[in-house]
């Protein structure tokens, strides 16, 4: 069950939607777990353990065709539910159902991609049909806790209004009814990513937000330990 006092738990943000183009596979790390994020043509985002069950090859090196992910090492092909469909060394064999990748739940919200253990209750829906746009991500050599404390306790320079916790991420109002969303991704003990998205449609204004995020990075890195 989710812990309502812990923002983003159990759904962990793993990046901006635009960072993962259709028909491609990417490595990400969340809470120390190496994951592959891949995006099928019809089935959208998939998040699995970054490891082929056959010989341990990282699946993020694999290739996406349609709605399947194929391992680079021996060409084992996996369907969107994680089951192995084809083993090229034995083309006539129907792979047993026991050959299956370890899959995680995934969802999108506010222009961001989130993951959680398989079977996790769906993320709370927001009554929001606006388009969200990617601003950018920054990566910090700091713990998630240090980053969260800093961005929730002092001005970030991103918005005049304070951030509030909404559906597992931090949201703040800006001018003209627009909003910005800041998602904190714990990567490893001292590595954290911040992903920023917004409803602001004007590219110039988004560029300005991106510059402010870089200034926030300088601020955060001066907390110590940052490079």
């Amino acid at each position: 069950m989710s812990d309502p006092t812990s923002i983003g738990n159990p759904w962990v943000p793993i990046g901006l939607e635009t960072q993962f183009p259709v028909s491609s596979a990417h490595p990400v790390i969340a809470n120390g777990e190496p994951l592959v994020v891949w995006r099928g043509e019809a089935t959208g985002f998939h998040v699995w353990e970054d490891r082929c069950p056959h010989r341990g090859m990282r699946l993020s090196f694999g290739f996406v065709r349609g709605d399947t992910l194929t391992c680079l090492y021996h060409g084992w092909r996996y369907g969107s539910e994680g089951g192995c469909q084809h083993i090229p060394a034995h083309p006539d064999l129907e792979p047993p159902e026991t050959i299956c990748t370890k899959i995680y739940a995934s969802t999108t919200s506010h222009g961001l991609v989130f993951t959680a253990p398989a079977g996790t209750e769906a993320m709370a829906e927001t009554a929001d049909d606006r388009s969200w746009f990617a601003v950018r991500s920054i990566f910090l050599d700091l713990s998630e806790k240090a980053v969260r404390e800093r961005v929730t306790s002092a001005p970030t320079g991103l918005a005049d209004a304070a951030f509030t916790d909404a559906a597992g991420l931090l949201v703040a109002k800006v001018a003209d009814g627009d909003e910005i969303a800041l998602a904190i991704q714990p990567i490893e003990a001292e590595k954290t990513a911040l992903h920023l998205s917004t409803t602001i449609a004007d590219p110039e204004a988004r560029m300005n937000l991106a510059r402010r995020l870089l200034r926030l990075r300088q601020d955060l890195e001066s907390l110590g330990g940052g490079t």
């Binding site: 010989r55 341990g56 090859m57 090492y73 021996h74 083993i87 090229p88 060394a89 034995h90 064999l93």
Partner: protein
Amino acid sequence: MTVTTDSVALNNWLPCAYPGQVAQGEAYDTMLLGQPIRVTAAGDGALACHVVNQNGSTGRELPLIEKFALIFTTLGDDPRPLPDVPEFDEPDRRIVNCGSVGVNTSPYRIVENFLDMAHFCFVHTNILGAVDQTEVLTYKTEHRTDLDEIWATDCQFYQPGASKAAMDTDAGQMTHYTYRVMSLFSVMLYKTALGYDDRLDAICLFIQPKTETECLAYPPMALLDEQSSMAGMIDFQQTIFLQDRIILENQRPRLLPLTPRAEIPTKADLSSVAYRRWIKQSGVQFGLWRPEAA
């Protein structure tokens, strides 16, 4: 890491350099099973190998054997003898010294990849395999108790360019293979040589495990090829090996897991299964995955 206490791992002859690598009057520092060692070449070219102590001074002298165009040493008191590969003594063979390639993974993953035919089409596309002919046909494995080696026989695979010589002809061939796992850290294969019906190319792979997940792999070859240049044959082998390295350094965990169901083999992995069983029976612990190392 510090030197392993694993006597099964220690009692092997392992490569530590190749002839010509250490210039006369020079020293070369490397590592074996976590133990820093120093290979020196005297002014007259005579080689020696010593343990290097923590303060940088040299400690006990280690024995050396020069064979297969490599220099071997051992930290063990009772090492398993180096294998016989008589092809290296046949006068008409080209002995190809390919140097060494650094590969950051467990030594057993490197041996296993060498035994594997199913990756040819995907990792060595249009050289050792073609994407439209991926099937691994049934082959046999056996534990040769006379040699205490694992053999895989009756192996065959369609190859667009099985060797430097075969690449130069533009014609694919059904290549026949025999594999020998000669120790935990060495493996070789015999394969069809272009233009010879009754003799086979011999390609070895000797591994120097520096640590549990850092190795140098040396692939000396004894080839039947009067045409190709030495540089061409070395280049072919290094191309293949660098393609393998991309895979080998991205398998997880790097340490080989022998726990049941940690990795799922299929029929094409018969030789890998036999090798893993043999590893388990050997009692070796070095380089194997263990839960606390995760």
